[in-house]
Assembly symmetry: C2
Homo-oligomer: 372 residues x 2
Amino acid sequence: MRRFPFHLRCSSCSNVYDANQLINLCPKCGGPLLAEYDLSPAPELRSAIRSRAPQMWRYAEILPADEDIVTLGEGNTPLLPSKDHPDLWIKDESKNPTRSFKSRGMAVAVTMARHLGAKSLAAPTAGNAGAALAAYGARAGLPVFVAMPRDTPQSIIEECRGYGAQVELVAGVITDAAKRVQQYIAANGGFDLSTLKEPYRVEGKKIMAYELLEDLDRLPDVILYPAGGGTGLIGMWKAFDEMQRLGWIGDERPRMFAIQSDGCAPIVRAFDQGLDNAPEWESPRTAAWGLRVPRAIGDRLMLRALRQSHGGAVAVEESQIEPAAQKFRMQEGIDVGPEGGAALLAFRRLMEKGSIRRGDMVVVFNTGGNKY
Amino acid sequence: MRRFPFHLRCSSCSNVYDANQLINLCPKCGGPLLAEYDLSPAPELRSAIRSRAPQMWRYAEILPADEDIVTLGEGNTPLLPSKDHPDLWIKDESKNPTRSFKSRGMAVAVTMARHLGAKSLAAPTAGNAGAALAAYGARAGLPVFVAMPRDTPQSIIEECRGYGAQVELVAGVITDAAKRVQQYIAANGGFDLSTLKEPYRVEGKKIMAYELLEDLDRLPDVILYPAGGGTGLIGMWKAFDEMQRLGWIGDERPRMFAIQSDGCAPIVRAFDQGLDNAPEWESPRTAAWGLRVPRAIGDRLMLRALRQSHGGAVAVEESQIEPAAQKFRMQEGIDVGPEGGAALLAFRRLMEKGSIRRGDMVVVFNTGGNKY
């Protein structure tokens, strides 16, 4: 089958752009651009995909590229049943290259950036996105610059350098690293792969939703997603619409919950206050470094998805995150990182509150491994 | 389809045992026991397997169990083309749970041990096998004891403890850790899961060969395998015979090469001297800790496979292993551990010597990730 043609549409002002260009945010309004495919019902495509080699790029028709692909074997991560709760499943994204879901987005974004002529790549990171960019940049043969908070775990800093990336440590958090990346690009050039500042990382991440449908042969009732920048959640929400247009599902949707730490919970606060954007969180503090994102460029998209899905946003106690992750590693043998620990803790809280009921099929995302 | 029935056969004295018992070495002669299946041609099984969810246990008919499985989503690791050599492929076992091929063996061995009544588990390790046993033991709900050299990388020690295993550090190398495990079991009980001292770790590892056939739709001409205990190599060699009896391949075989460091190369020395067993290597010294195995219980099986396959054994320069791994991480973006680095270095050496020729399809195993 052939790929569905696509263009880019601004998620803010709805302006449309040709996809055949190296582009960041909407030139008109500065909003994030998303890929929009000319989809039509294609039930046969689903079984064709099922018959292919098990990795993310088996979904070629609904991805922006199918040749000269930069891949390290990302995707098709296991969906593991929990031993403790009969209806709880863990989508274990730590089984990706560089041990997090970030690999999916970088595989697609680096493929497209190289395809469209980028000569070097740069991004700020809370940690795991940098590791993924470093690895995929190396695979693509393109130089990489990443800036990250000075207190990012040493193992991640070394991981990035191990793949040959130029790493700069900055005081502060990811938003400070983002400023440094802007300076660097202004002085040295390079294509900016910041979350949602280019259209294709979200395309890789959306495949998580397609895999859920493939694994369960239905959609779960509830998804708990630890959200920093929130692109995984945004990508999956986009994917459900695509699936419906492909005729693979009806109008059912999982209830989507964004999980944050109470030490940095801008999305939860905005959700609770009924805002459609999420003002910056002051003094963000969490050891779940992937959640230490005080301001997310995808805030509107994320809040819209949470509300439309009849889901919600939960801030868990910072002090309980690591104990929850530890308990889960010991009980289930899964490489649960702090972000996954937060989501598993939120599962308990939502059960206690009655927001999740017995019989609800729940998928919790372990977005990355436990990197000491 | 139903699983093929199987029994256990001693690889040394050929005595046969019922599989329905918790058993270690051959009670008669002390040799390693292997599972022997009553196979018959089954071409349709190959396509049936292909249609199943992509993980190791899709090969249920030729594994010793198909229910109450202890799994973390192991197997179906990517086979990645190298950018540098058109005929070089890397089977990236770092994409397994706990980041090494050891997961495959422990998944099957822990499944069978629990199935047959074991109440606790123990093994010595050079590092990665301990991490795998700790995770699968946690998943199975069984307590785990592991002993390992005192200078094992700290990240691995913490990884094992993170899954709740009792870890004891010993002076010396894995053979010293093995003595400590014997003492521990004598005093406290527990089932011994040392390499080849029970029949089922090799069953998990053999699936690597089945996956190669599935990925390439043929067997490669050459396999380079970094060998400590060598069970991966022994398992794959066993699998080729099974495939032939299933009617999936003919009598073709890849040339198998065991790769070691010149700081600990008992198999290479024995191979070169024409011995059929490998005497202990004195003062083993290598930072490729998975290769720091001075005496392998599977030495005879390994040497037999290398010779029957018209392959060989290569010792690479210890000082060049880490630079080779580093270069490969930077050039290819793959999470190459020291053992994989040794094998990639051996690839170059064998090309230079003419033992591998242009046009030979070569698979190098990256048996585990780079754990700092």
